[in-house]
Amino acid sequence: MDKLSNRPLLEVKNLRVEFPTRRGTLVAVDDISFSIQPGEVLGVVGESGAGKSLTGAAIIGLLEPPGRVAGGEILLDGQRIDNLPYEKMRRIRGKEIGAVFQDPLTSLNPLYTVGRQLTETILTHLDMSESEARARAIGLLQDVGIPAPERRIDHYPHQFSGGMRQRVVIALALCANPRLIVADEPTTALDVSIQAQIITLIKRLCREHGTAVMLVTHDMGVIAETADRVAVMYAGRIAEIGPVRDVIQRAKHPYTEGLMGSIPKLGNAPARLAQIDGAMPRLTAIPKGCAFNPRCTKRFTPCTQLRPDPIPVGATDVACWLYDQTKKAAAE
């Protein structure tokens, strides 16, 4: 591999997202760093309130006020995009970064045909004639597996079923051949059989177009099927990030371990599921030290005092004091 292709497509450094409220500032995403290589699928997984969706929103520059990026940098291809003015960011969104959201209905304008929405997006970002754009739109619909695209292009969003609508949204995200797609829970609103279709579609598109994907979801199954690497988030921090096989089958962080144990699986039905007691802390009451420590069965002295930073263990980075040799030795 030469030096050039070694540069990550997206780099997030020490990102911090805050919500100022009258009772003080809530830190929803707290000092997280990761990168995505070209063509790579990074899964970001976590339970509700972990900050995974906000991380995605920060990257595409669509944080809902009063939420704001309060620190850190987001670099796309080595260029900072977190401090761009709105107009510039709008150009990048769609051209360089595509977005797919959970609810396909809200991502489409119900008053326009899907063809019009697709061609408008294409014409905004690419230098094409109207007829070329339409041809490209039909090609995109074909690409995302919509049957009879020549006919369907003139239909309105409500004439599509839920699964087909999500395909249209994916086509919309692909309009300008972006290098990165941020997909926030793209399969959550869909039935299992449709979910499988969309997962397969995302995987295929990634392979064929070389598009990188940041896949935000709460569903470990979707991650296992789709992602190359996975970041597990807890209370605004990354607990563990590494190759998907390592994280899922040899979880290192006690939270990931507990999470994997609590998912019911086919084939072996235990008498009881392994469970993590308690719940994710509210943003107003994040515990001191490691945010997971009150629920952790392997807690020891430093956990309640100091916030762990990611420690490399094999190919994985784990934010857990268990993997800090000096702390561990001191405790024993």
Binding site: A224, S262, I263, I276, A279
Partner: protein, 347 residues
């Protein structure tokens, strides 16, 4: 085995989804009926867990509401321990039966009255059924219930918004248990919860079943959850029961092509690298279902008979009840699923 606790015979519920009268007259539209549940038979034995799975729109939630009497059936009957539920008025008899079953709902944010304190919410069935008299006695019972579901007795002074989703679901369970029911209908009780919390609730439900000898009717779209909690499983498609069998049989040797499809669509956490060929098609509009077997447009084994004639349930040699012409005629290849399934011969 003793007589089953719940017997549903040809249970059906139709909804009139026609446009308003004026539109129908002007646009010359016919009346439209949604057959949400269309002739379902099942029994539940005491102490067992029967689950229904299916995709959205298959009628599983309507079925749960039919069972507890929130909807009157359009056809068929629902017997609870020998009493016909549709003939329950609001008499004293009705109250005696009603306190023996309860329901747990899907959305922990909508299933508790936001203006009531937790103690009052949990005590409502006790007060309504007149099971206890005196605030002291009721409070003692609420204390006990809160402890039973893993909360603290002090929590009864709080309002629902002070609790997380998982804790609210525990409150829901405490309310459901307060009249000492034998039978709980659970409509997707964990699908709004995070996985780690889902595990807590599923464990709690299993513990309670063991301690109190409860009978569950469990509704879910999540096959892995159903696999964990059930003794028997029914698979629904467009208002009809396509297959019902005990959990081991259904997951190891699924017969109906739709069951096989559902099982194949579960994301693979073991990462066995099995190639997944996604199933084509989506659930059709339930207002205008396909003719014959409603699954035929998506079924690889459909023939002319499937397109014309609705299949009746037959018993297979594994003991499952299956409504499928192909299964009846022996046109389906045998399929045994193991932890690492062989390449699916279906696809």
């Amino acid at each position: 085995m003793s007589a089953p606790l719940v017997v549903a015979t040809d249970l059906a519920r139709y909804f009139d989804v026609s446009k308003p009268l004026l539109n129908r007259l002007l646009e010359k539209l016919p009346r439209q009926t949604l057959r949400a549940v269309d002739g379902v038979d099942f029994t539940i034995a005491k102490g067992e867990t029967l689950s229904f799975v299916g995709e959205s729109g298959c009628g599983k939630s309507t079925l749960a509401r039919l069972v507890v009497g929130l909807y009157p059936p359009s056809r068929g009957s629902m017997m609870f321990d020998g009493t016909d539920m549709s003939k329950l008025g609001s008499s004293a008899d009705a109250a005696r039966v009603r306190k023996r079953f309860q329901m747990i709902f899907q959305d922990p944010y909508a299933s508790l009255n936001p203006r009531w304190r937790v103690g009052k919410i949990i005590a409502e069935p006790i007060v309504v059924h007149g099971l206890m008299s005196g605030p002291a006695q009721i409070k003692k019972r609420v204390d006990e219930l809160l402890r039973q579901v893993g909360l603290s007795p002090a929590d009864q002074e709080k309002f629902p918004h002070e609790f997380s989703g998982g804790q609210r679901q525990r409150i829901s369970i405490a309310r459901a248990l307060s009249s000492n029911p034998e039978f709980l209908v659970c409509d997707e009780p964990t699908s709004a919860l995070d996985v780690s919390v889902q595990a807590q609730i599923l464990n709690l439900m299993k513990d309670l079943q063991r301690e109190l000898g409860l009978t569950y009717l469990f509704i879910s779209h999540n096959l892995a959850v159903v696999y964990y909690i059930s003794d028997r499983v029914g698979v629904m498609y467009l208002g009809k029961l396509v297959e019902i069998a005990d959990v081991k049989t259904l997951f190891a040797r699924p017969v109906h092509p739709y069951t096989r499809m559902l099982l194949d669509a579960i994301p693979d956490l073991e990462m066995s690298g099995r190639p997944r060929t996604p199933v084509a098609g989506e659930v059709p509009n339930p207002i205008d279902p396909p003719s014959g077997c409603t699954f035929h447009p998506r079924c690889p084994y459909a023939n002319d008979r499937c397109r014309a004639e609705a299949p009746r349930a037959i018993r297979t040699k594994t003991g499952a009840m299956v409504a499928c012409h192909a299964a009846e005629e022996g046109r389906l290849p045998d399929l045994e699923r193991t932890a690492a399934p062989p390449p699916n011969p279906l696809l």
